[in-house]
């Protein structure tokens, strides 16, 4: 029952930044390690949450898994098959199984197609179906995602945010996906609609035995829906473990900073001076900062409290993802 559906080994995605027309003369190529040595696995019927600030590589992981962008190195194993180097034609049967709910549905749904055509296209692109079958399948899908039938003749811009989200979900289910990358499925939704979408995703998981990679920066939602959570910082996973453990007993300083920054928690505990001394250091890759040692060190409260030990910034001793407990891994020299 609990088979591993997706396994990722040492996945890397590096973007080269060419400095324009005369970059060849500069001699130096800038490489942005958007995803750097990421490994994890997801079991059937399991949800893995992926959190982190903007620009840490969450969405890049999702896109690489779907082979929307090629991985630089590493392995992606889906259901026992290595799909990393498959050609587009070879990958086609897997496309049905791995799907993505896109973040920006205004961009992901064709504004000139009616909802029915959008769903129909998803169905017919992978299999030949008669019109009657298509109608039957579409009404099944609508029922699954609680969408009114009258909306089929509408254009995407006539739907509300929650409805668009549901069309996005229905489209991934249309082809019979087993594994869904949900990229920020609840961002830009109201709390009331967010609750509906979250409940829907969980219902579908139970009914259809789906697995999710749930990418979000809303920590509470992630904690609620996920079985396990991976925290990312600048392309690396810094902590991974069971959702409750990550949220309530974080071991990596970054996770602690992240969770303590929840607005309501903060007002409750009235922490004015959160452990984040370097306000200017954003979680975005920066060429001016050398990429050595622990990447979080410049912002790390522990690093500053311990009087900047060299072990943190020395490239030879950059921290590795270590098992500190059953199913709990941390990338830190001084776990909390």
């Amino acid at each position: 029952m609990t088979d591993t559906i997706l396994e990722v080994q040492n996945l890397k995605k590096h973007y080269n930044q060419n400095g324009g027309l005369f970059s060849a003369f500069k001699g130096k190529e800038n490489v942005i390690p958007a995803v750097d040595d990421v490994s994890f696995y997801i079991k059937e019927k399991e949800t893995m949450g992926l959190v982190g600030e903007t620009g840490c590589g969450k969405t890049t992981i999702g896109r690489t898994l779907l082979k929307l962008i090629p991985a630089t190195s590493g392995k992606i194993i889906f259901n026992g098959t290595d799909i990393t180097h498959l050609s587009a034609a070879q990958f086609r049967p897997f496309r049905k199984k791995i799907q993505m709910i896109f973040q920006d549905l205004d961009a992901a749904l064709n504004p000139k197609m009616r909802i029915k055509a959008i769903l129909q296209e998803a169905l017919t692109v992978h299999c030949r179906l008669s019109d009657a079958e298509i109608d039957h399948r579409i009404s099944e899908l609508l029922e699954m995602v609680n969408l009114k039938k009258s909306k089929l003749s509408n254009f995407p811009n006539e739907l509300s945010g929650g409805e668009k989200r549901r069309v996005g979900i229905a489209r991934t289910l249309a082809v019979g996906a087993r594994f869904i990358v949900a990229d920020e499925p609840t961002s830009a939704l109201d709390v009331s609609i967010q609750a509906q979408v979250v409940n829907l995703l969980r219902d579908l998981q139970k009914e259809l035995r789906l697995s999710y990679l749930f990418i979000s920066h809303d920590l509470r939602v992630v904690e609620l829906v996920s079985h396990k959570v991976a925290v990312m910082y600048l392309g690396q996973i810094v902590e991974m473990g069971l959702a409750g453990r990550i949220a309530n007993a974080p071991r990596h300083p970054y996770t602690a900073v992240l969770w303590s920054s929840l607005v309501d928690k903060k007002s409750d505990e009235s922490i004015k001076n959160e452990g984040n001394p370097n306000e200017g250091q954003w979680g975005v890759f920066d060429f001016e900062r050398p990429n050595v040692g622990c990447r979080f060190a410049p912002r790390c409260p522990v690093y500053h409290a311990k009087n900047r030990p060299t072990i943190c910034t020395d490239p030879a001793t950059s921290p590795q993802l270590q098992k500190i407990d059953d199913a709990h891994q941390v990338r830190c020299h001084f776990p909390l």
């Binding site: 903007t54 945010g161 109201d190 009331s192 920066h217 809303d218 929840l262 607005v263 007002s267 954003w282």
Partner: protein, 367 residues
């Protein structure tokens, strides 16, 4: 703080015409709000409830037809009282049938010219606004500092470029942008989302407005940056003491920042009162909609138990076909047999249930 409110919105109506449906979308339908000096008034509600349109109407930025059709927006600054919707009746002709608006004819170009005249010296100067998307609201071809300097030279008494530059740096410092001198020359795309939002806040505050309208200042930012922007706004509230109209669908943000809250739904205010009373789960006397909104936020207990969230059934109100009774009736789960008929057919008024706490619900009037 008793006195004449700085900003008073009365019976504001902003409609849009949908040509495909041949009907009006009543985006804002009779909103009353009052903002007193130094306080922060939060407006909460789902998307499509008319929060942003209310703000845009105040600023005279609604360009779609027919736009603002009735209302009174009183702005009182330095003892001068001004109605921002002055002479609106001259431009709008409303035809009513059975108490419902069926036709509106508005001389829109004439109204635009008129409102530009009325709002000259108000827009940006007396009332300034922080927009939802900082990167889209700033000019991508001009540096952040230049844009703020421009605002200062336009809207304040400073007209010396050097002085304005110093003032810009002062405001950039106030919003805690690190090394303001460096950031002065950055273009908006060179800044991260959080920093861009800070620059936007600096620009809005630089003209030292009487009223600041913050439209979703934290949506689209990461949790860590969001909490920093919130604490920045909190600090500015005490140090600068600006009167703020804060619009957000994030209840936590509203709870932290605002003194009073108005809950909007379908273009109307359903509830207004002190934020402590309305947004605390412990307080029971509140509108069913507010209660449902609060219940749909994941709580610590729900997360622990991995239980289901209490979603509000149904979707956001369709503002084209407004129901005849209570707007929230179709989604309300607190309707009792006793008041059912009233809820369905008659819209309740906004009435006071305790001091300064108004609710638009039949449940509170029948006792």
């Amino acid at each position: 703080m008793i006195g004449v409110p700085v900003l008073k919105i009365e019976n504001l109506r902003t409609y849009f015409y949908s040509s495909s449906k041949q009907a009006f979308s009543r985006a804002v339908d009779g909103v009353n709000l009052a903002l007193e000096k130094g306080e922060t008034l939060g407006i909460v509600g789902e998307s499509g409830s008319g929060k942003s349109v209310t703000a845009l109407s105040v600023m005279g930025l609604v360009t779609a037809e027919p736009g603002v059709i009735t209302g009174n927006i009183g702005l009182k600054t330095d003892g001068v009282q001004k109605n921002l919707l002055q002479d609106i009746e001259d431009y709008v002709k409303i035809t009513n049938e059975n108490g419902r608006t069926v036709e509106v004819s508005k001389d829109n170009p004439g109204w635009q010219r008129h409102i530009d005249r009325v709002l000259r010296g108000v827009r940006g100067k007396e009332i300034s606004m922080i927009f939802q998307n900082p990167k889209l609201s700033m000019n991508p071809f001009s540096s952040v500092g230049k844009q703020i300097k421009e605002a200062i030279m336009l809207n304040t008494s400073i007209n010396n470029a050097q002085e304005a530059r110093e003032r810009t740096l002062y405001w950039l410092e106030q919003v805690k942008i690190d090394s303001p001198r460096l950031r002065y020359d950055n273009n908006p795309y060179g800044l991260s989302g959080g920093m861009c939002q800070r620059a936007m806040i600096a620009m809005a505050l630089s003209s030292e407005p009487s009223v600041l309208i913050a439209d979703e200042p934290t949506t689209g930012l990461d949790a860590t940056i969001q909490s920093k922007i919130v604490s920045l706004l909190e600090e500015l509230k005490s140090s600068v003491g600006v009167t703020t109209l804060l619009i957000s669908h994030d209840i936590d943000v509203i709870k932290t920042l605002s003194d009073r809250v108005s809950v909007m739904y379908g273009g109307r205010v359903l509830e207004s009162g002190p934020s402590k009373e309305i947004l605390s789960a412990a307080h029971n006397d509140k509108h069913p909609y507010t209660a449902a909104l609060l219940a749909s936020i994941p709580t610590a207990r729900q997360i622990k138990a991995k239980s289901y969230l209490q979603a509000i059934k149904g979707d956001v109100l369709d503002t084209i076909n407004l129901p005849s009774g209570c707007l929230f009736y179709a989604r309300c789960h607190q309707v009792t047999e006793q008041i059912k008929m009233q809820c369905k057919h008659q819209e309740p008024e906004l009435r006071e249930i305790s001091s300064n706490h108004n609710v638009r619900c039949w449940r509170f009037f029948n006792a």
